[in-house]
Amino acid sequence: MKSADRRVLTVAGVLGVLLLGLAVAAPGFFQLGNLRDLIVDNSLVLLPALGMTAVILCHEIDLSVGSIFGVCCVVAGGLAQAGFPMPALLLLIPLLGAAFGALNAGLVVGLGVPSMIATLATMVGIRGALQWFTQGAWVNDLPAGFQWFGLGQAAGQALLVLVAAALWLALSWMFGQVAAGRALYAVGADADAARLVGIRPKAVVSGAFVSLGALAGLAALLSSARFTSIQPSAGTGMELQVIACVVVGGTSILGGRGGLTGTLLGVALLGVIATTLIFLHVNPAWEKAIQGAIILVAMLGARSHSVDRLPAERPVAGRVPGKVVRP
């Protein structure tokens, strides 16, 4: 079995055991209201995690996703106050996110800045600009039609979850069945070799960053619609949560391996754990530490059955280690 599949099964197994344990220890967890909140909250994590999976598959990283999310929240609120209708926002806000994604892509692909540095710069820069622009003030007095898109809470929540589920399905299909999706894997595995088979790695990497920006924008809009006011600090720390979900879900930080089934499970696992800690009355201060421990364990698990090898010694003519298949 391929190691990526095994990772997915491992995460699914851990999630299953956790849910079983909860059924015994804290049956209150399965109350309808709790489950609904869990799914709604984590749908908003899943959206940027889909894009982050694409970026990490290309062997890049994006630390600016939380800042893009924040700026999109504030702009969405501002435009809503200015009277823009919801359908227009549904177009404009993801476009704004995509524009920030394009900025990241330009820095990484165009100027050759390592993505860790480029997106660290845009993360700090965008957040700083946002704080300066808003002076820390919340966006209040949102028009009535903004909250839950004017649909009411139940329908609004359903819409939000449906959008996330539909995008997950569509992108899962694309990652597996469309050449552009497979190109993410090829570029992440070996960008030079990808170029030699006619793939343009720069276009593929740019596409991943722009998609992540657009998905962060969409998540920002859907998230803002849940509340009556918007804070300029929205999305702070989101980048780490999203990266953690993708990596726990088995996508290799070295690129070229993983996928969206794992990302969905990663989001679910970390989401369930966070809620579990509340149910078990664990001091919230411990939440991050426990998440960190889980990421570490997931990484160790990945190491033990990974096909990654250290850069192999160049084999010498006639004496090659490893098995030989004789026809």
Binding site: V178, A179, A183, D190, L196, D308, E313, V324, R326
Partner: protein, 499 residues
């Protein structure tokens, strides 16, 4: 009209003339062998034909039609395929996908047909006779298996010109037979095959014609049936270059390091018996991939030996980490000086101090004054041309960088110096200075092991030459016996030596 013609190809790299007016043709339905020593220009010529490198001058034509805008993609579209010694597959993707990526179009928005991919992969793998699961990850395959996947890919590409660069280098015997049968099939189907190999016996079996390159220049093209192996070796070496050793005679000292039956499964070195003496320069010759660098890495504890024994001054010794090797008195100046030999962004001073920080330190802090004194002293001994000892090493010329790499180890005052390709890519003047430094070390009673692909260099500096082939030392030639022909004959597995 030839199928493919490369005419008057020239290619210069900084300081090196890789190809000087080389013309090469291959007919449809022909196996045309391309041979030459390391650095003769074969790889550059191949890269030009596959579009990976653009020539400075000269033309390529296919079916008499001039090829313009030649790059890896257009070369592929024109039916030019290559199989390299080192397979270049996507390790985290399946075999089927690896084959498909090389064969399908490059459009980003097309649907992927996995069933068709698997069926096609199975068909191609069957044709090359490989029992490989199309769903296996390429990274989990052994090197010979990966090579077979590459061959399957070239088959699938319906190449008109197929270049094979040392395809048998890591294939076991049975696979070689099968490969030859396949190549015969392709030849019968009208494919033009360019075949590069150091295994001259194979060529006699396979090739129709052979072209010899030497030092970037075209030597000759002959019908394979018209030349024998000694003649080919003579053509590759060139008579005028076949010099005797010209190192000054030095009395050989006591054995410093004795290897017996030494081997390491990881990097393919096996059954090495060799003695390195004090006060001598031992040259280590052999073709690329023969295990020279790998042996050097074993001695420095980078890839510890798992077979055989080593004795240092007669005492058994184990070298399992570079730290142990350094403590024993071994220095290793690696092949890739920019990556491993010097720390480019640091100053000359910081570089030379690196191996002896503990000696320079007082109470945990490095004494800047002693650090500078050391750099000045070494700089003078090696005649280092740098603006100052504070100059950043990365800005120096290749020759001076190499001196810094040597200086760094001189500071540690080792007994055994291992230098890998000490003069690669540096100019003639600096080269002779480095040879002088190595000679001085030997004269001072140190042992020096010089790994080099540059045969005149090996002959010029060595007191003895050990020749490696396929992971082991196949012979040792004393100063008087060593000539280019004899070294090459040993390295190739020539008639006069039974490997």
């Amino acid at each position: 009209m030839p199928l493919l013609r490369a005419a008057d190809i020239e290619k210069h790299y900084p300081g090196v003339r890789a190809l000087a007016g080389v013309t090469f043709e291959v007919e449809a339905g022909e196996v045309h062998a391309l041979i030459g020593e390391n650095g003769a220009g074969k790889s550059t010529l191949i890269k030009i034909i596959t579009g990976a490198v653009t020539p400075d001058a000269g033309t390529l034509s296919l079916d008499g039609e001039l090829l313009v805008d030649h790059n890896p993609q257009t070369a592929k579209a024109r039916g030019i395929a290559a199989i390299y010694q080192q397979p270049a597959l996507f390790g985290t993707l399946t075999v089927a996908e690896n084959l498909a990526l090389g064969l399908e179009g490059a459009g980003l928005w097309r649907r992927v047909d996995w069933r068709e991919r698997r069926r096609r992969a199975q068909e191609l793998l069957d044709r090359v006779g490989a029992r490989i699961d199309p769903d296996a990850l390429a990274g989990s395959l052994s090197m010979p298996e990966q090579q077979l996947v590459e061959i399957a890919r070239a088959l699938g590409a319906k190449a008109r010109v197929l270049i094979l660069d040392e395809p048998t280098a890591c294939l076991p015997e049975g696979e070689v037979e099968r490969l030859f049968a396949l190549l015969a099939e392709l030849k019968a189907a009208g494919v033009g095959l360019i075949y590069i190999s150091h295994r001259l016996d194979e060529l006699a079996q396979l090739a129709d014609r052979v072209t010899v390159l030497r030092d970037g220049q075209y030597v000759t093209t002959r019908a394979m049936s018209q030349v024998d192996k000694p003649e080919l070796i003579r053509l590759m070496v060139g008579r005028e270059l076949s010099g005797e050793s010209n190192a000054p005679a030095r009395p050989a000292g006591a054995p410093l390091l004795q290897l017996s039956g030494l081997g390491c499964a990881v990097n393919g070195v096996h059954d090495v018996d060799l003695t390195i003496r004090r006060g001598e320069i031992l040259g280590l010759a052999g073709l690329v991939g023969s295990g020279r660098t790998e042996l050097a890495r074993i001695l420095f504890g980078l890839t510890p030996a798992d077979a055989g024994t080593m004795a240092w001054d007669g005492q058994p010794v184990r070298l399992e980490t570079p730290a142990q090797a350094m403590a024993q008195g071994i220095a290793y100046v690696p092949e890739d000086r920019r990556r491993h030999g010097v720390v480019g962004p640091l100053s000359v001073t910081a570089n030379t101090a690196l191996t002896v920080l503990d000696r320079l330190a007082k109470g945990g802090l490095v004494d800047a004054r002693r650090e500078e004194d050391l750099a000045v002293d070494l700089g003078q001994r090696l005649d280092l041309r740098a603006a100052s000892i504070h100059t950043t090493v990365g800005t120096l010329s290749g020759g001076n960088q190499q001196k810094v790499a040597l200086a760094r180890w001189l500071a540690a005052e080792p007994e055994l110096f291992i230098v890998d390709e000490p003069t690669q890519g540096i100019d003639v003047g600096a080269k002779s200075e480095i040879h002088r430094i190595l000679g001085d070390l030997a004269a001072a009673g140190k042992a020096v092991l010089v790994v080099s692909s540059d045969m005149p260099e090996v002959l010029a500096v060595s007191d003895r030459v050990a020749v490696m082939r396929e992971g082991t030392v196949v012979g040792t030639l004393a100063r008087g016996e060593a000539t280019q022909e004899r070294i090459l004959a040993l390295a190739l597995g020539g008639a006069e030596v039974v490997g």
